[in-house]
């Protein structure tokens, strides 16, 4: 065991910190769920890319630095530490790109990844449907083969970022005869395509972080099928694996927010010993999450598969995120309900809390994650 960094890792950290401190906007950008904020965040993606920091773990040829897993963790720590903007490109970079690296053709990789890396094309996911939320295999949107491509029809919902994004990725049922998990194919399509309608869904904070996406005879050329037609379930599961696992919630996020929480407790008006205990507990749990992730990285580097264990990871960070933000709101008392634009408001804690509430729901509800832990890790018998 050695928790020190190699000289190379230390210099990677120093370079990341230097660049971020020099480039992170002094004033927070407008919310990325507004037109103005979305474009401001796209500009930030351009800037990250120009500096070489947009996709550090990707190969150089696609705009990355071929950073190791440890270096990626370091970058994330620095990114959150300095309070850099949210990544508007996150859906593409963290959810779609791993799938393209694994299942995409060379042509697709060369065509799609560079424009994802530089922010020219921002991606949105189109997984859920009104009748298929946690139960993704219940998808009913269809794809019919036509000459040179496919025609998509149906309704998607809870498409994060779809209101302003450029492209979407999702599953459609290409073989209506096949059983639930079979007969699905993975498609990529521009949200500006003919036949696509996007209807914003407003969140609790009034912003349109989600949307419904209606497809009405949308033509998708064969080159935008990801993986083999009919293998969509397998291809998609590799993506939801990423969504649930290591890449979505890096420890740096919670290290930064528990450090901010400790500062809020230290400097705030409210001195309450039970809240002190909650702050300490959140800090300990963020530390546990960081160390657990180190262990996971070690196993991945040793060639072990992580698999169902990532459900433990998801359960932990999603609960932790709520604990952290809820404790902050308690420290703030009535100030906690103020919007970020109120004169008395204290930063982003309310927005972070609302965001955290979605954690136990998306990317496989926590109920499903507990089933996975019980059945696949602890090997308890399947229920009826």
């Amino acid at each position: 065991m050695d928790l020190t960094l190699t000289p190379q890792e230390e210099s990677f950290r120093a370079a990341a910190r230097e660049w971020l401190e020099a480039h992170v906007p002094a004033k927070p950008l407008a919310s990325l769920d507004t037109q103005e904020g979305f474009e401001a965040h796209r500009v930030w993606e351009h800037e990250l890319h120009a500096g070489g920091w947009a996709v550090v773990s990707w190969p150089e040829e696609y705009g990355g630095k071929s950073a190791s897993l440890v270096e990626w963790l370091i970058f994330e720590e620095e990114y959150y530490r300095v309070g850099a903007p949210r990544r508007v490109g996150q859906n593409g970079i963290f959810l779609l790109a791993p799938t393209i690296f694994e299942f995409g053709s060379e042509e697709q990789q060369k065509r799609i990844l560079p424009r994802m890396a530089n922010g020219d094309e921002i991606w949105s996911q189109a997984w859920s449907e009104p009748g298929a939320g946690s139960d993704l295999a219940a998808i009913r949107s269809t794809a019919s083969k036509v000459d040179g491509g496919w025609v998509l029809n149906g309704q998607k919902t809870w498409s994060t970022r779809a209101v302003f994004a450029d492209w979407a990725f999702g599953l459609f049922r290409s073989d209506p005869e096949a059983p639930r998990h079979a007969g699905l194919t993975y498609y990529l399509f521009p949200l500006s395509a003919k036949g696509v309608t996007v209807r914003p869904i407003r969140q609790l904070d009034g912003e349109a972080g989600f949307a419904e996406v209606f497809c009405d005879d949308v033509f998708v050329p064969d080159q935008d099928v990801l993986g083999v037609p009919g293998s969509g379930w397998k291809v998609a599961m590799s993506t939801t694996g990423s969504e649930r696992g290591l890449t979505l919630r890096s420890p740096g996020r919670f290290m930064a927010s528990t450090d901010r929480l400790a500062a809020l407790c230290r400097e705030g008006d409210r001195v309450d010993p039970t809240l002190r205990a909650d702050v300490a507990q959140a800090w300990i749990d963020a530390e546990a999450y960081r160390l657990y992730t180190f262990g996971t990285v070690g196993r991945m580097l040793a060639g072990e598969s992580v698999g169902a264990e990532s459900s433990l990871n998801k359960l932990f960070w999603s609960e932790l995120d709520i604990d952290i933000t809820q404790t902050a709101l308690r420290l703030l008392g009535p100030r906690g309900v103020l919007g970020a634009d109120a004169p008395d408001a204290e930063g982003q804690w309310l927005a972070d809390f609302l965001f955290a509430l979605a954690g136990p729901i998306y990317a496989g509800t926590n109920e499903i994650q507990r089933n996975v832990v019980a059945e696949r890790v602890l090997k308890l018998p399947k229920g009826a």
């Binding site: 869904i201 009535p334 103020l338 919007g339 109120a342």
Partner: protein
């Protein structure tokens, strides 16, 4: 020993429920504080039902009732997430202002806050009461308010510059009533969130069955019902203690707020979890109750603050008596 309500007390609550069910349409709710909460059909109907005269003596045209008679009405206001300063006017502030002309008929809207705290709906109020320690001061509306937009656009908050208003008696009792009002409304809001989650769980299907048939969801909802059921009697008892002027009244309102706030936070969390992504949006009207809970929980002291008050009474002062 009888722990329950009279037929009159129940009928009053039913009347309020009927008003809120019929008048508080989604359109009214969305129409802004002035129209929905202060001068629209809801306020009017509640006035006609005598809600603003509940605590007003009969000689001033009121019903001359007490906190116990009114507590079920407060619960209804929470159950409906009613807009506007209804509880603030009719319950929290009424005893200090009941000699104002027309108060019993809803002619005056009043709100209150701790000095330096946030006044809800102050923009549509006629009278503001600020509490400094146990000293209440009344300030006429029209002064300089600083808006403090919150997560709930239907309930804006305001601050006042330090202002010296006219002193009024009854500050300590006002605080106890304010705490009880928040607790009672939280129990009502919790009940609504539980009901909504149960209803959704009975109809929403995933994996080919109603999600409410999964044991994990059943147990979450049963645990929530437990919290709500064991918060409610503390609220009723606190109302009784206030109405009877018991020496334990402050302790009892604090105890009520502790369990009501916990039940409500639990209800908000469970309702969102059961509804999934849709609970997280304004597609459903669930948001009105969620936001009401998030405001009421910290207002007039959160569970932590009130637990400390109970600790001081029970541990330090040894005031463990249950039947004063």
């Amino acid at each position: 020993m009888r722990f329950g309500f009279t037929a009159d007390q129940r009928e009053l609550a039913v009347a309020v429920r009927e008003i809120l069910t019929s008048e508080l349409t989604p359109e009214v709710r969305a129409s802004g504080a002035e129209a929905s909460g202060r001068r629209g059909p809801v306020w009017k109907a509640l006035s006609e039902a005598g809600v603003f005269g509940l605590l007003v003596p009969e000689e001033h045209g009121g019903l001359g009732l007490n906190e116990l008679d009114s507590v079920l009405v407060l619960e209804e206001l929470g159950l409906a997430a009613a807009p506007g300063p209804v509880a603030e006017t009719a319950f929290v502030c009424a005893p200090l202002l009941s000699d104002r002309p027309g108060f019993a008929d809803g002619a005056v809207a009043a709100v209150a806050a701790e000095a330096g705290g946030y006044l809800p709906d102050a923009d549509v109020a006629d009278v503001l009461i600020v509490l400094e320690g146990e000293q209440a001061r009344v300030i006429a509306a029209g002064g300089e308010l600083t808006g403090q937009p919150t997560v709930d656009p239907s309930r804006p908050l305001f601050t006042l510059p330090a202002a010296s208003g006219e002193p009024l008696d009854g500050g300590a009792a006002l605080r106890d009533r304010a705490v009880l009002a928040s607790a009672a409304q939280l129990v009502g809001a919790s009940q609504h969130l539980l009901d909504a989650a149960v209803e959704y769980a009975k109809t929403r299907k995933q994996f080919g069955r109603e999600i409410g048939s999964f044991q994990a969801l059943k147990h979450q909802l049963a645990d929530l019902m437990l919290d709500v059921e064991f918060a409610r009697p503390l609220v009723y008892r606190a109302a009784y203690s206030l109405a009877e002027g018991k020496s334990t009244a402050s302790r009892d309102v604090s105890a009520a707020k502790v369990n009501a706030a916990q039940a409500a936070e639990h209800a908000a969390r469970t309702a969102i979890q059961v509804h999934g992504a849709i609970g997280y949006t304004d597609e459903l009207d669930l948001q009105y109750w969620l936001k009401r809970v998030w405001w009421l929980v910290p207002s007039w002291g959160d569970a932590i603050a009130h637990r400390a008050r109970v600790a001081a009474a029970v541990i330090d002062a040894g005031a463990t008596m249950r039947t004063p």
